[in-house]
Point group: C2
Chain length 254, copies 2
């Protein structure tokens, strides 16, 4: 058995307001085994409190302090570097960055997350113009797509790439697959990377990101998983692909 | 003197509704010299008829048949390959593609241009989902930005790159810097590439695109030109940088 476990949320435990079959029981089994667990998500459409509330409503039982989110990592980065960004983010997430809000002429960075309907041409152009002034681009993730109940949907990483291309800037990513993100979650459990297993549905942000820090990684075939993703492991010896969170739980507890 | 001339429009002759100082007179001098001229543009916010009308209103005198536009090239490509695309394009440009409109379930491609305010999250997601079904992405250009009176603005190339990144698709570009686009304009003048000079303000789409076909190229320091662009020539021996269309005219007619 490993010492600690990192669990991605959307696509692993649930999709929108539907749990993955058996996920509530599997999570309870993992918790009862004595393993340390942290929940690591690049979701940027909701603040941490709402993600926690949603998990609780779905029947998952965890402490809010066990949730590691990409917006938290972005906030820490911004504070550390005294950055007050123009925020191309979801309106519901603004509450997590309200202490960093400044007037337009005082911005010294651009922050981007999954702004959803706020990815308008005009907002993209505002961000572009600030990048052309030399401001850094801080991105909470660079995910290509995510799973919704009616199919895969384009994710913030696409819009990050658009801004990088237009402005010639390279984004600083604070969420997965940034190594520091995984390492700080592992460190909060008192674990070294080789003692940790990461479970996720995103081959790039979850699996290859974690395995490149020295963790083991389990790709599940739920959520955004697409056939053939298991052929894209960059660390095949420490990565494997299993059906879902239930099969991953059996594997870990066996 | 060369045999033929290719002129980019926005940023070279005008910016929005303002002519570049002296451009009307310079164009008249070029026309009176007996040179063949074609006007080549990746502008995709207006149909060809309106671009021609705009040029006429600004005082430029040219035939509509001398205008080579990226939408024309895209239309020819779509017809040749029997493609009926989902169109992520400017509403004003729809008129040029009305013969290729089909119902949603009959689309077999995605066409993208500068959709301006129609670059919404939902439209981007619709395009993304079609690309994930394996449809090809036809792009009229891949420009990073263009010049407006109040500054540089993010261009369609950014949104093309976003869709490429999210879906893992590589766009087929039909406008500049596609070699076929330059070569067909040259061919319409009865010229070989080495007999042609291209004048533009975009180091990638205009200058390097044309010079790589064997044309000479003149980068002007108006429009979207940014300091240092002249250090990015991929064919330095056949590329040069001059102040504006007036200096380029003097150079050509000397």
């Amino acid at each position: 058995m490993p010492g600690g476990l990192l669990l991605d949320l959307s696509g692993v435990l649930y999709i929108e307001d539907q749990t993955i079959d058996g996920a509530v029981d599997s999570l309870r089994r993992l918790q009862q085994s004595g393993l340390s667990i942290r929940y690591v998500t690049n979701t940027t459409r909701s603040p941490r409190s709402r993600i926690h509330q949603q998990l609780t409503t779905l029947g998952f039982n965890l402490g809010i302090d066990e949730l590691f989110t990409a917006p938290m990592a972005a906030h820490a980065y911004l504070v550390k570097h005294s950055l007050y960004p123009y925020m191309l983010i979801h309106p519901d997430l603004m509450v997590e960055f309200k202490d960093l809000r400044k007037n337009d002429d005082e911005h010294n960075a651009v922050l981007i997350g999954d702004a959803d309907q706020d990815f308008t041409y005009n907002n993209m152009n505002t961000a572009f113009r600030k990048l052309m002034q030399g401001m850094p681009l801080i991105s909470m993730g660079k995910n290509r797509y995510f799973k919704q109940q009616d199919g895969l949907s384009i994710d913030a990483g696409a819009f990050v790439t658009a801004l990088e291309y237009a402005s010639g800037t390279c984004a600083i990513v604070t969420g997965k697959p940034q190594p520091e993100f995984f390492l700080s979650a592992a460190s909060s459990m008192g674990c070294e990377p080789h003692q940790v297993i990461m479970i996720g549905d995103d081959i790039e942000s979850d699996i290859n990101g974690a395995s490149e820090t020295g963790m083991q990684a389990i790709l599940v075939k739920t959520g955004k998983y697409r056939r053939g993703d298991e052929n894209k492991f960059t660390q095949p010896s420490s990565s494997r692909c299993l059906t879902d969170i239930n099969a991953a739980t059996d594997y870990i507890l066996d």
